[in-house]
């Protein structure tokens, strides 16, 4: 069970979040969700595939980092080897939270079980006085952009369906070893 909590500048005053690229920091994944607003940047580095949910018949888009579970070909020697990192991966270990009954102002949540949250080497979220650091400000902007884009993406996928622009395919990748 993930431990998602609302970020605040008292509990998390001295928290540091690791921003290195590493398999044991959660980067060993074969892909992540992507949103239409970032397709232009994403397609320059990664294949984008659309997945249809068989129950709801809804589409979602994924940026592919590898060809099997846990494979990330863009992770090299502790470095993210691409000029862009899709928002949904970039914002980890943060999430968007909403109070269910309250107003619609989204809040920054953090996954305290995420491996990025338990080191002494990382970026602070708040300065010693409790003001957000430039890093947290950027994260909040990205969370907002992702949230907006995700909610707007429904119309895009509707249009894809309406004009029947997608066709199913199966991906075959010949590997160097001939398999």
């Amino acid at each position: 069970m993930n431990k998602h909590v609302i970020l605040d500048n008292i509990t998390h005053r001295d928290l540091r979040v690791s921003i290195d690229a590493a398999a044991d920091l959660g980067d060993a994944v074969m892909g992540c969700l992507t949103v239409p607003s970032e397709f232009r940047q994403v397609q320059a580095h990664f294949p984008i595939v659309f997945r249809r949910d068989l129950e709801s018949d809804n589409f979602s888009a994924l940026a592919l980092f590898g060809f099997e579970n846990g494979e990330n070909l863009f992770l090299e020697d502790g470095r993210w080897d691409a000029g862009y990192k899709p928002l949904a991966h970039d914002i980890q270990p943060f999430l968007i939270g909403r109070i269910e009954s309250g107003d619609q102002i989204p809040q920054v949540h953090i996954d305290m079980d995420h491996p990025r949250t338990n080191g002494t080497h990382g970026v602070r979220l708040f300065d010693p006085e409790g003001a957000p650091t430039p890093y947290l400000e950027i994260i909040a902007e990205k969370l907002g952009a992702l949230d907006t884009a995700y909610r707007e993406s429904g119309a895009f996928f509707e249009a894809l369906k309406r004009y029947d622009l997608l066709e199913p395919f199966s991906l075959e990748v010949p590997l160097n070893d001939g398999s």
């Binding site: 540091r16 290195d20 502790g78 002494t120 080497h121 990382g122 970026v123 602070r124 979220l125 300065d127 010693p128 650091t133 430039p134 890093y135 947290l136």
Partner: protein, 511 residues
């Protein structure tokens, strides 16, 4: 090879000066013609152990001689030094503190910058991102950065005894320097040149070139050559120190700066290493007795480190001369280290003077005796210039004080102020310190250092006519950079604990 070719170098004395000389000369000659280097070290002389702060030049020096940064920090119980902080120097009242960081102020016109500085933040904080890092005990570098690279400029604090031992291992192991543990008892000379030194147990050691690193004893430059000592204690009054080492609690913060706290008859140094703090009370024996100095030292430790049992500490008394030789290179002998001169350790000038001497020597090492006189003359002029500049820079720290105890009044006595410094102070009322005032390519204390002292101590900025709006933007940029860096850099403690963690754990972390 001509008979007067310079092939055999004999270094008299070990310590930081001797072993650094051996390493630098050996490394510089690695690719060219190899020098045959012998170092003679008296086995029973304890290290002075005061020079425990370096200048940022040390990073380049260590890199040049081929010692890795992690190995250096681990072997010498080292920590990062980002500058010096001066407490109680202006008025002695609460909150009296200013910083001299190693990273220079924002570039561009200093007059405009001073006008744009609104005075709400300290000068150092307004013009350099480093001040924010220092106030939070942050490391100047990320652990993942390559050796000797930093987000801001930095030097080191170190254990001088361990440093000399590391350099000795490196010199003998890597460079094949011959080490003779023996006492030099006599010198054999021939027409103004040293031909050999005589040792107690190892007989006559011949050489073509000699380096005097024998410390205050100055066996070659002083005893043999009789080069006069120039006393400068009429300018800088301190002549003693009470020094002690205090263990720290595990996990405690490690300061990013040498903290120099003024007291009624001198000042106290405080240098943080991972396992201990080196603390020393510098004073003038004309204005405080040894007992009074010890009391000042104990009070400081009680205030700063209340967990310490101060009565269990046994401070060591050091007496020191203030001054330097009239010449540093005579005949075929160069004095490096304490044999060349000594000044109070207020701005950590001792080790950097060793490095600069070696840089000048190795870049212009005489191939034969023909070039020697010219090189000696040039070396002497350059280093006389450098000693004079350091003395003036140290004096500046006292001149701008407003403290009124007799010691502080004596430090500001007009008769004790060098003429050139007086003239510069008059100039700086009209224009900020600039490279015109410090024109050498490798000034130890360039114009920027003087700016930090002047405006840190409240010296009035000169009137400025012009547009300072671009400078306001630069100050805003600094503030933003400070916030970003402070968020991203780990603490000194986190970085140094990782470096000093036992090797097996480390392998596990990396796996």
């Amino acid at each position: 090879m001509e008979s007067n070719g310079i092939k055999r170098v004999v270094i008299v004395g070990g310590g930081t000066a001797g072993w650094l000389s051996a390493c630098v000369l050996a490394a510089a000659r690695r690719c060219g013609e190899a020098l045959n280097i012998t170092l003679i070290e008296a086995p029973d002389i304890p290290a002075i152990g005061v020079g425990e702060g370096t200048w940022p030049t040390m990073r380049g020096t260590l890199q040049d001689i081929g010692i890795g940064e992690q190995e250096f920090l681990r072997s010498c119980s080292g920590s990062f030094k980002q500058g010096s902080q001066f407490n109680n120097w202006v008025s002695g009242s609460a909150g009296d503190s200013y910083l001299h960081p190693f990273t220079p102020p924002a570039t561009g016109d200093m007059g405009a910058l001073l006008t744009a500085w609104d005075g709400k933040k300290s000068f150092a904080e307004a013009v350099s991102a480093q001040a924010t890092l220092v106030s939070q005990h942050l490391s100047p570098r990320q652990s993942s950065m390559p050796d000797y690279a930093g987000a801001v400029n930095y030097a080191y604090h170190l254990d001088a005894g361990k440093f000399a031992a590391l350099l000795a291992r490196h010199a003998t192991g890597r460079f094949g320097v011959r080490h003779i543990a023996d006492k030099v008892t006599d010198v054999q000379a021939d027409s103004g040149m040293i031909a050999a030194v005589v040792t107690a147990a190892n007989g006559v050691i011949e050489g073509d070139f000699f380096i005097d690193c024998s410390g205050h004893a100055a066996l070659l430059i002083g005893t043999h050559y009789g080069v006069a000592w120039m006393d400068r204690s009429n300018i800088l009054l301190n002549d003693r120190a009470m020094a002690v080492q205090v263990p720290v609690m595990a996990g405690s913060e490690i300061a990013s700066v040498t903290v120099a706290t003024a007291h009624r008859a001198g000042w106290i140094w405080d240098i943080g290493l991972p396992e201990r703090r080196g603390i020393g009370c510098v004073y003038s024996s004309r204005f405080a007795s040894d007992d009074e100095a010890t009391k000042i030292l104990r009070n400081y430790i009680t205030e700063k480190m209340p967990e310490t049992d101060v009565n269990a500490l046994a401070p060591r008394r050091l007496t020191f001369p203030t001054g330097h030789r009239e010449q540093f290179w005579r005949g075929n002998c160069v004095a490096i280290g304490l044999s060349a001169g000594f000044l109070e350790p207020l701005e950590a000038s001792a080790i950097v003077m060793i490095e600069l001497s070696l840089k000048a020597l190795s870049a212009n090492f005489p191939r034969s005796r023909k070039s020697m006189d010219f090189l000696a003359g040039r070396f002497n002029a350059l280093f006389r210039y450098r000693w004079d500049r350091i003395i003036e820079f140290l004096k500046l720290h006292y001149l701008l004080s407003q403290r009124s105890e007799p010691y502080w009044l004596a430090q500001r006595d007009p008769a004790s102020i060098p003429e050139r410094l007086n003239a510069l102070l008059a100039l700086w009322a009209e224009q900020p310190p600039s490279n015109w005032d410090f024109p050498q390519s490798e000034e130890i204390f360039p114009a920027e250092s003087h700016q930090y002292i002047l405006y840190g101590m409240g010296f009035a900025p000169p009137p400025f006519v012009g547009d300072a709006s671009a400078a306001s933007t630069r100050i805003k940029d600094i503030s933003h950079r400070a916030r970003s860096l402070a968020a991203a850099l780990p603490t000194n403690r986190a970085v140094l604990d990782l470096i000093n963690s036992p090797q097996p754990d480390k392998a596990e972390c990396l796996a």
